[in-house]
Symmetry: C2
Subunit: 346 residues, 2 copies
């Protein structure tokens, strides 16, 4: 596929993409020759551009304008043209500086990471909180609300607190609930939620062998409590920064994006997808068939504990995004978050 572009075409495509990223204006043949000395005349560049257009890497918005990259163009640029450098040490310390706050809860920490991403990149920062399933058990607590309704509070090893309400037929007193909590806290401590689920299933199977009624109730409750997907909340920080981008002069487009931000399910899906991969992921526009974020790109990286990936963070902005600058920032921020969660809280 990438064979269809020779060296010259590539350099010209690269020039177009980078100039367009810089200026947000369509790039003409003359501009290419002016800003990059390729030893070619505008006429030659025009010929190449005509080819690139035919192959779908660029388009011209109208007859007498220059060209702008298509999604395919960006994709190619990101995949084979772009070389991501090291993170500028100044940026590095800028990130660290923003991020040196003590005494924060995990949620705040993550939010803060989103803000930093947004400030540094001047796009919107996105952070997904750890999926319950990906965390390590630390503590559980049951509190009775009204008849049949229990409040369950989980704490993960990293100090993330989550709670949910469950309905149950078991009529238990608060002191029985405390016993159950104690029992679970002793036996499950340090296991991953995955392991716990497996364990519960195993022990439920042997239930008939269980004399202890309390134990059997504990199992039942904890199964109920862990049944569905908790966590995976998405924070979007600095969304207003994105408004500075000239593409959002278009009101309609802006509305669409903000609706997508509000709805979140779309982002959850994308971020979940990216959680499966390692390293920095880049979604370009409707790579993802999502019309709502047409013309936007999402750069993500996972943050992790010593037991593996737990969550995802990144930046969302127009496809005309400064990839070479943003990629290392996202990458570094993810590492920093991992490190902080690990060292501070353990």
């Amino acid at each position: 596929m990438s064979d269809e572009l020779n060296e010259r075409s590539r350099r010209i495509l690269e020039a177009i993409v980078e100039d367009y990223i810089g200026t947000a204006e369509p790039i003409g043949s003359r501009a290419v020759t002016r800003r990059h000395h390729l030893g070619l005349s505008p006429a030659t560049v025009r010929n190449v551009m005509a080819d690139l257009e035919e192959m779908g890497y660029i388009v011209s918005p109208h007859t007498s304008a220059g060209r702008i990259p298509t999604e395919k163009g960006y994709r190619f640029y990101v995949d084979t043209l772009l070389q991501v450098g090291q993170l500028d040490p100044r940026q590095k310390s800028r990130i660290e500086e923003y991020y040196r706050i003590d005494g924060l809860r995990v949620e705040e920490r993550l939010r803060e990471a989103g803000k930093v991403l947004s400030t540094i990149s001047s796009y919107a920062g996105v952070v997904m909180t750890p999926r319950f399933n990906c965390t390590v058990f630390r503590h559980i607590e049951f509190l009775k609300l009204s008849q049949g309704r229990l409040l369950v509070i989980f704490v993960s090893r990293s100090g993330l607190v989550q709670n949910k309400v469950i309905e149950t037929d078991l009529s238990l007193t608060q002191s029985e609930l405390e016993h159950i909590s104690n029992y679970l806290n002793q036996t499950l401590s340090g296991l991953s939620i995955q392991e716990i689920k497996a364990k519960i299933v195993r022990e439920m199977a042997e239930e008939k062998a269980i004399y202890d009624k309390l134990l059997s109730r504990a199992l039942e409750l904890s199964q109920e409590a862990m049944s569905d997907e908790l966590g995976g909340q998405v924070y979007i920080e600095g969304a207003s920064n994105i408004l500075e981008q000239p593409e959002f002069k278009d009101l309609e487009r802006m509305k669409r994006l903000f609706r997508a931000f509000e709805q979140k399910s779309l982002l959850v899906e994308l971020l979940d997808k990216s959680q499966l991969a390692r390293g920095v992921q880049i979604f370009i526009g409707s790579d993802s068939e999502y019309r709502e974020i047409e013309g936007c790109s999402l750069i993500t990286a996972n943050y992790s504990s010593s037991r593996g990936t737990i969550g995802t963070l990144g930046v969302i902005g127009p496809s005309r995004m400064n990839y070479s600058q943003v990629i290392p920032v996202v990458d570094y921020t993810a590492r920093l978050v991992s490190q902080i969660l690990e060292t501070e809280l353990e």
Copy 2:
């Protein structure tokens, strides 16, 4: 002050405000006579309008346009002209319908209320979670994170879970922490946080008389844990709905508003202020000297438990807001939330 307007002027001002609320277009003298049969000619209305303008209730954006209300105009309208009707039963059941979801956590409940407010009003919904200080104690839990850092989890009577990280010099084992938690849970249950704070101060004063070292530590910890303002988080739901309003064609203005939404401190301030009052509160534009929400109004009401106000919710939109419709909606939603928090969770 309101003496300076005679009956006729009032009716004309009312007509202008209401028509402008409906159309978002400057209202001319002819339009007033056409839509409201006051038995006056446009010329007479013009004279009155000139007076109203001089007194600062209305302005004309340019020579040959009609008039639009100023903040003073809205203020007067809301304070003395507006009569708020009962909530339309259809709207009522529409709200209830949106709001019938079981098994939600308190946070989700409140968020949901914001969404409902936004959907019904088509402005943005705003909800402030209960201030920690306004809640009733239900449960506390201490977990050790790293040396010197403790995670504290509070649960209020209504089931709201909050947590914070505190730093302490006391080196306590997890089992000592459990003892402390148990002790506090027994002695403090059912007291308001205010009462607890007072109690702690009292007992600290008698500290010398305390033999039990654990008890003294418990006091110290709980004082630390309750020291600062928790809660008071602001959720803004359906912000994108507000984009439909014609006033936000103005990009600059929209940016300002969204920045204000993101920053939140401003809203917290406003909502805190409104929490002191009873019933529906209306802030108009820079009533509040806040330039960021110039041209916007905020309608709020408190929700409460049997022990009094605990939080605030409302709607934010352009000052050109349909007050007579939105006010009863906000009022009813606040009541509904109070009721649900009370009956479901107790």
